[in-house]
Amino acid sequence: MATTAERVEREAKLEGVGCARKRKEDPRFIQGKGNYVDDLKLPGTVFGVVVRSPYAHARIKSINKDKALKLPGVLAVLTANDLKPLKLHWMPTLAGDVQAVLADEKVCFQYQEVAMVIAENRYIAADGADLVEVEYEELPAVVDPHKALEPNAPVIRDDIKDKKEAGQGPRRHHNHIFTWEVGDKAGTDKVFQSAEVTVKQAMVNPRVHPCPLETCGCVASFDKVRGELTVYMTSQAPHVIRTVVSLLSGLPESKIRVVSPDIGGGFGNKVGVYPGYVCAIVASIVLGRPVKWIETRIENLATTAFARDYHLVGELAADKNGRIKALRVNVIADHGAFNSHAQPTKWPAGLFSICTGSYDIPVAHVKVDGVYTNKAPGGVAYRCSFRVTEAVHLIERMIDVLAQKLNVDKAEIRMRNFIKREQFPYTSALGWQYDSGDYHTALKKVLDAVNYPALRKEQEEKRKRGELMGIGLCTFTEIVGAGPTKACDILGIGMFDSAEIRVHPTGSVIARMGTITQGQGHATTYAQIIASELGLPSENIQIEEGDTSTAPYGLGTYGSRSTPVGGAATAMAARKIRDKARKIAAHLLEVPEGDLEWDIDRFKVKGVPGQEKTMKEIAWAAYNNVPEGMEMGLEAVDYYDPPNFTYPFGAYLAVVDIDRYTGETKVRRFYALDDCGTRINPMIIEGQIHGGLTEAFAVAMGQKLEFDEGGNLLSNSLMDYFVPTAAETPKWELDHTVTKSPHHPIGAKGVAESPHVGGIPCLNNAVVDAFAHLGVTDMEMPHTAYSVWKTIHKLGLDKR
């Protein structure tokens, strides 16, 4: 019999699920040996620079390319007129709208793409861009989505002025895009009419930008002789991009190869198809040379995929004890000049309807109105599942407002309203089936760890002395892993994901997935899943992603879908291989399959010590000695259609101290408990949570795309767009509980976005809590010193 110690050692050797092994990709990155799009040097590459509009709203009266074309080294200048014959001056968006590739007669946001200059190198291209003369007639701009809906607001989209719908249902105003409603309106209204207590609060999730370290870019290379197009690009979804390029260009998908090499962070910014890509592709097809286009930081912040810009009004109805009876939400969603938000097709407000949160709310109604403004198009999920940050922000603020109104402690009111462990699987009032959770345990663990009563006591004493200290709570539930194909698709393609695993004769493995890592550590964690499923050491398991010519079709990485969907496909494909391995083992051991049992890395004959075959032995046999009628080889593919989303959750607590003379906020303590089900690699989880919390800190405390009334972007560089450094970033204290997903093959849920989703409301609640005793129920994010000081000054707290 194998001893326990021997089995433990065998298991440890695999470095499988649960092992905090070091990231396989790090040696490369740490040594500066990554390979990003801009590192690519194909022979004959030329460079494209985009000419952009200085105005947020203007008619284009003329474009003169002569001077630019005369500059030696300039090869071409593309404008809308050049793209027209190819029908590429506009392109369809994922949301059923169209977006100008190059401005057609008018520009609708500052920095909009007007032309692309292609030149022998990036220096000449920049000079050439300066020489393109564009004559504009400025029009009044609308920046505020509420103003955009006023009757006399300027018409932003002349091209669809008279259209009664823009791809997502009826519209009621020339700047209105869609109305999306979910829930029981009549039932909700009825509860509100007779409720013992109601609260109402307006709040804003300001426009922010994911701002990955690496900006967007591509190298498009068209081989005229073969008629083949290769596009190297910064994409979180290379397979979908290939399909889109095929549909737009008419080239068969088989002649298009999209490669996402190393990606320097995405956070939603690299999901979409941008005009720069389209122009580079067209230019390459026309010139027959590789064309490189790389965004500058200004271009990245100003044009490609912002997030949020949700203007919300929440209402809760409750009884005297703070038990919530109904939730009502109205949202104005600013989508910018074109509706090119990145959501599954059927979900114009993404998964916002998760906004009943972790609470057992009997009835709810949500209405979201999408609006055009003279700002850049987009609306992506910045380190979160589609619109989940906005949803969590809403409910976590509302429950605090209710607690304040009833004078109930903010932890206590959450305990009173949590969905109970025994209620799972739980169907929410807005129709989601939460897979598993244990919210009471999570919050209790956090409160105990920080000694919550002592913190509240300290706060009370400080308040007496006029000092500002805030305690913020956030007990969030996410919805990630889009998603069940019956509910989720992109351009009609279901949101499954895939894995293809091949075991070599010597027991090493290569596996390819339809997802694409951008820092999540897929090469490490997927290998761990396979190692545990197949009993082969993860050290020898190679993971490849991002090349459409080698990887199976998948929908990509965003919305925390890699582990819930791609990870599930990986486990399922591995299980198919193990099933075959069992048959081979039975054949080798000459026993019926039913006599075998799996033991870490081998099949054993039950009750017969020593009669066993390791996976390594089986892998060898798969290539020379298989049962009669069986194919040789040991590989499998799985396309996984998840039966449900997964619902990670957590309980966060923040303590802040605010300087009442400068408005500066110091995060004294941040305690984050996450439950992501099965923990594949605890070290990677911690890293992801650190990163997510840091981005949450950025959003809550400093990030905002600020515009003036003319639609000029004021925060267009990293001087004014806040990206925290190590010096600003607070210390993070982490904790966890494990509540497995019942439907995921290994019980995992996805984790990397939870800290962002939960962290922002937590910090926001902490800042507002510092002023709660003075009747403050909301403060607009981000909580910069200046912004917080305005509240302080208004309340007269800075008087000497």
Binding site: I298, L714, D720, E728, A785, Y786, K790
Partner: protein, 289 residues
């Protein structure tokens, strides 16, 4: 983010640098650390036809003491200022401020001369030069002249420096006994310019304030010397009440530009708050606490 075309010159001595500057005059710009000039060129806000790089001019480097004056070569970097033992003991306000400028990368290249010559009200050295009563040596084709920091700064990006002159040296009087100093700077994050900042250098005689200079950063088109506020405190024993009065005086001279760091009201209040903090800290230091 690519500058317009320019010609690059790298003179190896001051004479050659001045000659080149004279030759190309209005079309030329001095290149020091490049951390103000190059960002402007990359955005094409500035497009000089000639760049004259001073990095190979040895005369412009180094920190030495001569007759109670500390002489700092214009091409001395912020990090060299921070590392200088001489400055730490004789002009402690300089390293205190330099440590709060930008980030380590910028401080490795950025020079004290460039910081002053640039004439940006957001830069920190102008207020420090005012507070320490420094003077500047300007060298041109006709030779040298020395001007006081007070009066050198004329407006945003505008100083007494002529187009054919190079700022060659900064002269700072060494501090006397009983001196306290402080530079209090409010900024949004590491690497940011001041929302508002106050530099204070004062000298005590027992408990009496024998002398005090207060200077402000980024709350007007140039760095400001708060003379009335200083006058209020001179010859007195400074207490909370006097500090408050000085802070109010400071507010009355602020004329900041609104930007994302704050509106005029906020910046004015912050100038006062930084002044309060700087006076208190300088007092503590003067008393040897």
């Amino acid at each position: 983010m690519i500058p317009a075309t320019f010609e690059y010159h790298a003179p190896s001595n001051l004479k050659e640098a001045i000659r080149l500057l004279g030759e190309h005059n209005s079309g030329a710009k001095i290149l020091a650390g490049g951390h103000s000039l190059l960002p402007m060129m990359k955005l094409r806000f500035a497009a000089p036809a000639h760049l004259i790089d001073l990095n190979r001019v040895p005369e412009l480097k180094g920190i030495r003491e001569q007759g109670g004056m500390i002489r700092i070569g214009a091409m001395t970097t912020e990090n060299e200022i921070i590392a200088s033992e001489l400055l730490r003991t004789k002009c402690p306000l300089l390293p205190e401020a330099a440590r709060q400028i930008a980030d380590p990368q910028v401080r490795n290249c950025g020079t004290v001369g460039g910081d002053i010559a640039h004439g940006d009200p957001g830069n920190d050295h102008p207020a420090i030069a005012l507070a320490t009563e420094a003077s500047f040596v300007l060298t041109g084709p006709k030779g040298e002249r020395t001007v006081a920091a007070d009066g050198f700064f004329l407006g945003t990006y505008s100083t007494q420096l002529q187009a054919d002159e190079i700022l060659t040296e900064i002269r700072v009087p060494a501090i006397g006994k009983g001196t306290g100093w402080a530079y209090c700077k409010l900024k949004r994050k590491t690497g940011d310019f001041a929302t508002a900042a106050a530099a204070v250098q004062l000298q005590l005689d027992g408990n009496t304030c024998k002398k005090i200079v207060i200077a402000l950063t980024n709350v007007a088109p140039t760095a400001l010397k708060a003379k009335d506020a200083a006058a209020l405190l001179t010859g007195k024993t400074i207490d909370d009440k006097l500090i408050e009065q000085a802070a109010q005086k400071v507010m009355s001279i602020c004329d900041p530009a609104e930007d994302l760091r704050g509106d005029r009201e906020y910046k004015t209040h912050m100038a006062a708050e930084m002044t309060r903090r700087a006076i208190r800290l300088a007092l503590e230091r003067a008393k040897g606490k």
